[in-house]
């Protein structure tokens, strides 16, 4: 008799525990319990936080409809108080052509009826390369190029990045064939996009783009950015004039 009772008691204990634990199924979209929600959720505006649910209350009017946002129109980031730096970061004076609305999705910005890409042929690099800053700029350029460009344009700028060699993407030009482009046009293409390439002004600021313009010039001229001991640029005989390089 005793045995029966023990088994019965044991069974009921097991059953109870099982029910207790199984009732804790969680919502996969919830990150779990919080000790004090008012310390976990910011009442001040933070990125990627859905403000429809604060302190257990759901406010549908505040529900997040968008998680990744581009900066509001006509706003510029704070770039410090150094006037040359701020001047460099001022909005781009060259505007994209109206056709960029359809081809590159540039809605909500001022567009131009002119072919400003052609006009950009005379634009000079806003950061002049000197014997002093050359090494620093090209090192920064390499970092930027590795992160932002290399997957398509390739480590050597030949248009054979991993995106192209994997067969996912096609039609990336070789920088070595594009020597006719001016600094301004390269800048314009990165800023607003060209052909298949999208506008990269949401990813790179103007200083970074001008740095990249310097960096990609190296693929066209191995001597680009090299200076001799007198601080004079080392010129390559064949295309010394096309690089537009002046110390």
């Amino acid at each position: 008799m005793k045995k029966t009772f023990l088994t019965v008691f044991g069974f009921s204990a097991i059953a109870f525990t099982l029910m207790f634990t199984s009732s804790c199924t969680s919502n996969p979209d919830s990150s779990g319990y919080e000790y004090m929600p008012d310390m976990y959720r910011s009442p001040a505006i933070e990125a990627y936080v859905d403000y429809a649910e604060i302190r257990g209350k759901e406010v549908t009017a505040l529900k997040s409809l968008l998680s990744a946002k581009t900066p509001p129109r006509n706003t510029i980031p704070f770039y410090g108080t150094d006037s040359t730096e701020v001047k460099l970061m001022m909005p781009n004076l060259r505007k994209a052509n109206v056709s960029f609305k359809e081809t590159h999705g540039l809605f909500g910005i001022d567009l131009s009826l002119l072919d400003e890409y052609a006009l950009a042929i005379n634009d000079k690099n806003a950061i002049p390369l000197t014997a002093k800053n050359s090494e620093f700029i090209l090192k920064n350029g390499k970092e930027l190029f590795t992160a932002m460009c290399q997957h398509c344009h390739g480590e050597k700028g030949d248009g054979n990045g991993p995106m192209v060699t994997s067969g996912a993407y096609a039609g990336v030009p070789n920088y070595a064939n594009l020597t006719a482009l001016s600094d301004g046009q390269i800048f314009y293409s990165i800023y607003y996009g060209k052909g298949m390439m999208g506008a990269h002004n949401s990813l790179l600021n103007k200083k970074e783009i001008w740095t990249l313009v310097h960096y990609v010039r190296q693929f066209q001229d191995a001597n680009y950015g090299k200076f001799d001991e007198n601080g004079m640029a080392v010129l390559t005989a064949a295309n010394s004039d096309t690089t537009g390089l002046k110390p």
């Binding site: 109870f16 990150s31 359809e102 932002m148 290399q150 039609g171």
Partner: protein, 449 residues
Amino acid sequence: MKISNIQMLNGLRKLVSTVLMICLSLLNFNALSQGEALFKSKCATCHQTHKNGTGPKLYQVRDKWASGGAKEGSIYQWVNNWQTAAASDPYAAEVSKWSPTAMSAFPDLKKEEIDAILDWVDAQPDPAAASATAGAGGATDGSAGVMSEESEEDSVAWIWIVMGVIFIVIIMAVGGVRRQLSIATSEDPTSQEKLTYTEEFRAWAWKNKIYVGITTLVLVISLIVGFFQTLATVGVVEGYQPSQPIAFPHDAHAGINGIDCKYCHNSVTKSKSAGIPTVNVCMNCHKQINGEGKPFAGEIQKIYKAAGWDPSGAGKYTGKVSPIVWNKVHVLPDHVYFNHSQHVVVGGIDCKQCHGDMTTMKEAVKVQPIEELNKIEGNIKLTKPTLTMGWCIECHGVKEVAIGNGKNAYYDEIHRRLKKDKALYRKYLQDGKITVNELGGWECAKCHY
């Protein structure tokens, strides 16, 4: 004799014709390879053979022009300068409206060269047809996998509940039968009958007090342990894997296609937040990569809908955007301050130290458990669960800070002062490195304020 002559003549003819054939095919081969080289250097930036891009696909474009009613030779004129062709041929004028992007002029290309290019293009097989037959069998859908796993977990929970109910019914039934039996078989029916269930239970418990005592003790201890274990999981988000609006495979992007993490999460070096890419970043590649004929084409359609991209024809942005709501995975409580740029730029921490190896992550992003993170080569090995305070503190205790290398003014200043206070510097350097906690990385106010 005559017959043999004729035979010889025939043989000679055959020989000559084969030699001619070989010569012709060699010429043809040369023309094809010349076409390929020209296509790659002049056309490939905008045109593909079988897919519309910035420019329309070029496969059998000559037949298309001819059947479309274009004037003889106007296609060559078009390549040399599309504007003169559009002015003289109404079909070319129609073609010029295909896309607002104007084609570059190639005045140097001769008619034979253009033919060589187009011959080469027409000789190319359609890659979409080949991949469609190959890809039909091996469909991998990330979202489907997550879904089935979820429902499986749900059904398991139901089994437990049903089993629990069955157990309780059995226990009550057995208990009732036993009671009836004991009443029926009892020699003294009067004494038993008057006992209520509670009294009977008490009597039974008293009789078996050792067993009841031990069982109660075990139950109480296990309940207390369970309670504290449950408390310890509050705020621990290891393995958290929320659903996402698009089944995004990190392995295809960061792994196979070698895209740097910083391309899409580009604010990681500048801001507190690493950033979720806006849809225009997706479109930088997906304007071309539409996944046609692949099992994931539907997922890319979601990007097109979000970006307002109409892929038909040359494709164009319509301006009708519908934003994507991604679910945040790595959630830190608001009372913790964490800054990505400080860790990535100043600290030089690789993404994989905290987020795991995304180049092999096929499914939706999740908070990687610490065991997974420790498997990755080059990671600092830690023991506490990912994204808990213990985990942060542990890493701050062992991670070396590169000070005095001129990269960071704050650390340079610390280095300058440490050089003055040699005793302290030596004390810090006892383990051979300056760790984060030695520079105040364990101060409460570093992260909580």
